[in-house]
């Protein structure tokens, strides 16, 4: 019994499916129990360190002092109150789009269509907002969020349904749906929903200043941050503390075993995907309701793709997504400063993200290879 309790605790604390630690007895420090926990924190940190070294080398090749660049990035992300608010502003959509990858990951699905759900959610929200103009702002905003969540949910839920019903690979279908979503956005803002006065940048009509979501009192950050944090906590509770989440984890481990133990696999997958899409759709809604006031090409800003990285870096754990979003939001926020101070291209941030992603995925190989108790990396 003791072994069983110990094993479940490991799975809950680690946040990702992993091999059960072999039961060992005896030593004062229970490495079998502590080891995996140290790995769960240590290996991503190691990957982060290695990425920073690699990116530093890249910066040197580009002709800059990496320490200067990192100091400037820190200043641009967390150094001043202004830059920290900028970071928070960018972190809030990341939390929601990261859930778009993290939730289906529990069912063993790799969904990379957060960008599409974000865009189509924003478009649906803008359409609902324009349709409801004139109504009390509570009605307008409710309608927008419902529309955003439904459109986003349909997008990724659709990918889940295709997976369950037809065995269509969800990674590919969710990405195809992203391009379809962007094409729909272009079609509607150039055509049926176009504000005739938006000449340079075709957009939908403005939803009206009175209907905009305001900032959090005392901050220059919109309420999407609060919703993002709450959504991440809710996702954690749903996936780690409920029967539904447990069922999803079994589906992720072995769909046949899940079916045999009475989990309704199809329903679980489709519902999880729909929730995931709804999260990204709500992020898109905030982008319209709190930032732009209208839907246009600015919605296609890469928040969905960055969310994939956040989710993987957080090992698809709802609670871990919050600090990781802040971290990557900070990197994104510092991009502007890097352009101004060093004249580096805006893609610099994307290079750092790419290096981080590759090193992180490659670091998966280290799990379970560290020889405890002597804490040396066995790479």
């Amino acid at each position: 019994m003791a072994i069983v309790a110990q094993s479940t605790e490991f799975v809950a604390a680690d946040g990702s499916k992993g091999t059960l630690p072999p039961a060992r007895s005896g030593p004062v420090v229970d490495w079998a129990r502590l080891g995996p926990k140290l790995e769960a924190f240590g290996i991503p940190l190691l990957a982060l360190g290695l990425s920073l070294i690699l990116f530093g080398a890249f910066v040197i090749v580009a002709g800059h002092n990496p320490f200067d660049v990192y100091a400037e990035m820190y200043r641009g992300a967390f150094g001043t109150w202004f830059s920290f608010q900028n970071t928070l502003q960018r972190a809030s959509p990341l939390m929601l789009t990261a859930l778009c990858t993290a939730l289906p990951a529990r069912c063993g699905l790799i969904v990379i269509g957060g960008e599409g759900a974000f865009v189509i959610g924003g478009l649906g929200a803008a359409a609902a907002g324009v349709a409801l103009i004139g109504a009390p702002s509570v009605v307008v905003l409710s309608g927008m969020f419902v529309a955003g969540a439904i459109f986003g949910g349909l997008w990724v839920g659709g990918a889940g349904l295709l997976r369950v019903r037809r065995g269509v690979n969800e990674t590919i279908s969710s990405l195809l749906l992203t391009y379809i979503g962007i094409a729909l956005l272009n079609h509607f803002v150039e055509g049926p929903l176009r504000d005739p006065e938006s000449l340079n940048k075709p957009s939908t009509l403005h939803i009206g200043e009175a209907n905009m979501v305001g900032p959090i009192p005392g901050l220059d950050v919109h309420f999407g941050l609060v919703v993002g944090v709450l959504a991440c906590i809710a996702a954690f509770v749903l996936m780690k503390r409920t029967v539904f989440g447990f069922g999803a984890a079994i589906v992720g481990g072995n769909p046949r075993a899940a079916r045999l133990s009475g989990v309704r696999v199809g329903r679980t997958v489709v519902l999880t995907c729909a929730l995931a899409g709804a999260a990204a759709g709500i992020a898109g809604t905030f982008e319209v309701a709190a930032v732009h006031g209208r839907a246009n090409a600015s919605l296609v800003a890469g928040y969905g793709y960055a969310g994939i990285l956040v989710s993987f870096l957080a090992r698809h754990d709802g609670l871990a997504i919050i600090p990781v979003s802040l971290f990557l939001g900070g990197i994104a926020a510092s991009g502007g400063l890097l352009q101004r101070v060093f004249g580096l291209p805006d893609a610099t941030v994307a290079v750092l993200q790419g290096i981080l992603f590759v090193v992180l995925i490659a670091s998966d190989t280290l799990y379970g290879r560290v020889r405890w108790p002597s804490p040396k990396e066995a790479s």
Binding site: I110, R166, G167, G191, L309, G354, F357, I361, A362, T365
Partner: protein, 308 residues
């Protein structure tokens, strides 16, 4: 110059010409991915390889003045990215699909970073074979200008088919893709074969990218690729892992992608952006029809995880 316009005949003509043009990158990427997947691995990073290839081809062509040197450079860069995928994936517990997504983001980011100074200058472009030499009709002539890379790709498809099914190399690659254990038992180094197949696949994807920047659209900018690299992965599933069928599928996808511009060329502009989505919708429909929830395609290499 003839004074005639072709009227409505311009639509199918523009579509055929467009199909050949649009399909070329699909063709190269899907042939590369087909080879890689036959060895039992999926490289989703080919989208990044495509964009990197486009950037480096443009850069090398601009610096050296020779577009063909650019094509080769794009292939070499693609092979290097493929090698990165192949080496990292041979480590235990590294997921090839997740790594592909990571490499896709890295490749696109690197290409945008390094390609920043290349947006302004004009690089020498690849030439075309003027099959329309017999006619004076300008529209017909431009439609019959067939790019050299397409011809190479169209010849490569049956050649690759032959290589996979009629040569020893092909047998080794397919064995590794069907059963790594069996290949190991016969004495082949599975990781090495997969590394080779991923590098070759990356080479082809890089060449596909060079087409984008050196022929059509024929310049370097950050909106150059819109998912062709990933659609090619879907296309390989549709083509049931056969290089010959990759050729036909690429032409079909190219045709779908050419509908919008073809309609626009004769003045029909309604729903232009919706027609842009046609290839994606077509891919999705085809995937839906050709997949099955209960059993994997009989042609699928058994070691593959993409179409579980």
């Amino acid at each position: 110059m003839a004074d005639t316009t072709l009227g409505l005949w311009g639509i199918p003509l523009a579509m055929v010409a467009g199909a050949i043009r649009v399909s070329t990158p699909f063709l190269f990427v899907s042939l590369g991915e087909c080879l890689t997947e036959r060895s039992g691995r999926v490289n989703l990073g080919l989208e990044g390889t495509l964009v990197m290839g486009a950037m480096s081809a443009y850069g090398i062509s601009y610096l050296s003045g020779s577009p063909w040197l650019g094509v080769v450079a794009a292939g070499v860069i693609g092979a290097l990215l493929g090698a990165l995928h192949g080496v990292l994936c041979s480590k235990p517990r590294v997921n090839d699909i997740a790594l592909g997504i990571a490499l896709m983001l890295l490749g696109v980011g690197l290409a945008f970073f390094l390609g920043k100074p290349l947006i302004q200058p004009t690089a020498p472009r690849l030439g075309a074979i003027p099959l329309g030499f017999f006619t004076d009709n300008a529209q017909l002539r431009s439609a019959l200008d067939v790019n050299v890379l397409f011809v190479i790709g169209a010849l490569l498809a049956p050649a690759l088919h032959h290589a996979l099914w009629r040569t020893r190399w092909g047998l080794v690659i397919r064995t590794v893709g069907e059963s790594a254990d069996a290949a190991r038992a016969v004495g082949y180094n599975v990781d090495q074969v997969r590394l080779f197949a991923t590098m070759a696949g990356g080479f082809l994807a890089g060449v596909g990218g060079s087409f984008l920047s050196l022929y059509y659209p024929g310049s370097w900018n950050e909106g150059l690729s819109s998912g062709q690299g990933l659609m090619a992965v879907a296309l390989v599933i549709f083509a049931r892992w056969s290089p010959k069928r990759c050729l036909y599928a690429s032409l079909l996808f190219g045709g779908a992608g050419a509908i919008g511009p073809a309609l626009q060329s004769v003045g029909i502009t309604g729903g232009y952006y919706l027609w842009n989505a046609a290839p994606y919708v077509l891919t999705l429909v085809i995937l839906t029809l050709s997949s099955s929830a209960t059993k994997a395609s009989a042609d699928m290499p058994a070691a593959l995880g993409v179409a579980r």
